[in-house]
Amino acid sequence: MNFELTEDQKLLKAMVRDFAQKEIEPNVKILEDTHEFPREFLDKLGKLGILGMTIPSEYGGTKTDYISLILALEEIARASPSLAVIVSVHCSLFCYSIMKFGNKAQKKKYLPKAAKGEMLGAFSLTEPGAGSDAKNLKTKSIREGNFYILNGTKSWVSTGSEADASIIFASTEIKPGVKKLNAFIVEKNFPGLLASKIEEKMGLHSSLTAEYVLEDCQVPAENLLGEEGKGAAVAFHCLDGSRIGIAAQAVGLADKAIEEGVKYAQQREAFGRKISEFQAIQFMIADMSTQRDAARLLTYKAADLIDKGKPYAKESSMAKLFASEAANKIAYQALQIHGGYGYSKEFLIEQLYRDARAFSIYEGTSEIQRLVISRYLLEEC
């Protein structure tokens, strides 16, 4: 067992932290306040190679091990949780699904641009009436000649309004009465796709979340991703991996929240002493850092399983469940340390507290993660 990062993992982590601290952090407040999409930083991340980390070099990417991707997401999330989710969706869902399930032509067409950030990707499974209940999608796909015609509404599409292409899931009737899922690569200018209504969210303001309305949307048959009727496998397989990215995002946010809490505790005085000298505060700091370390270990463990080619779905759910709930507890406590000031928009912790709330909901709620985890145990025993 080795808990030490390799030399190149350390190098990558330091590089992303350096970039995030110098370039991203100074701009986060204005981006969040104005709900502005961080296009400029995505371009820069593209140039550094961060957006191609799930794509091999033969398709223009900079494929690394999964731990490295996780480290990059963690460091980006320390500076901007919004940017981290955009990068995570692009790398672990959009690029990865094409890499894993796409044919050669699809890979050649989309991946080189996606690797450089010249094309930004989204992943659209959720509908107004179906989130985790993905098998009951209402969006339909019907084959007509060389096209599939898609009709329906998709909701909560991260990066939806900004993406150049999205993986969109729709149901198909393979036999009368037998419904299965199809996955498609849908470009933003395909006729009949409308990215409408940007959600007004509680947090993660510079990650824009859109609704897709598909009205007789024409998707060329060659853009079917994977086999006809096997879209569910695409969705679940990709989400199993990307959950680790969300866990990493939670760890990054938690790390930043602790930093903010500790800094504040060492500055703020009450009753003639720094509040960091009070045991009540010390215990909170101890709990927060223990929770963060546990979350980080579960996250790295799940990523390591991917790198070793072993099954990881259960561990990925565990990491996502624990890290997202830990991030919420940590943000709560770090805000508590700030007292009244934590409730003010002048302090970063207020933003982190709101951002963290999404983690235990998107890409599978905590409840769904618990279902997944318990099923493994009940079936194993």
């Binding site: 030399e7 190149d8 190098l11 550094l48 190679g49 961060i50």
Partner: protein, 260 residues
Amino acid sequence: MNIFVLVKRIPDTESKIRINHETGTIVEEGLTFVLNPYDEYAVEEALRLREAGGGKVTVLSVGTEESRIILKKCLAMGADEAFLLKDNAPETYDGLRLAKIIARALEKKFSDYGLLLFGKQSMGTDNAQVPSMVAELLGLPQVNVVTKLEIEGTKGTAHREIEGALEKVSFSLPAVISAQKGLNEPRYETLKGIMTAKKKEIPILSFEDLDLKEEDIAPLLEVAKIESPPPRQAGKIIEEEPEKAARKMVEFLHNEAKVI
């Protein structure tokens, strides 16, 4: 042109320094180490010179195996080669000792140098001695605290900061240049760079390889004590009418603080 850049690993400037009073050293445990920021300007300048006029960039560092990571960083930024001049001694704060090691390595192993780039000083020890000492030992022209550098053929021009003015210095190569903030904006390593660096070996040169004997490099400097700076005293608040307060303030600056 063969450009050599000398780099050093230093504790991250944001880290909290703890002192081991028994050994008179800094506690390394728990510290993050980074490439000295002034050296980063030197590396960047070397890469830009190579991009403009060709040549090779070699990075050298004196230190323990722990210094590998900063050499890897330089390789990831784009340096062609990196060597570790292995020195297991803890920080000696002895600039001359370090300069002797570097000068010897250059003479013995890299005598084809065209330009030597340094950071103007390493943050932490802040002696700013090594570049000048290396130049003296090798008999080379030197320009320190450089904010602009131009090389043409075997000649160079450097701008350096001096009190209230800018000095323009012409020199012939080979020469020693030490970099100041403002010389350039260092690039971030790219993932491609990190992957290229991963494949590159970092050869180690021992004191034996350099024909250096114990007595050649015995520190001439002894550290008597290391102490944290005293905590800042609380400021004085003069609570008076503005006119009286100003008078008291001037009095204070004259008689107590003795700054005017």
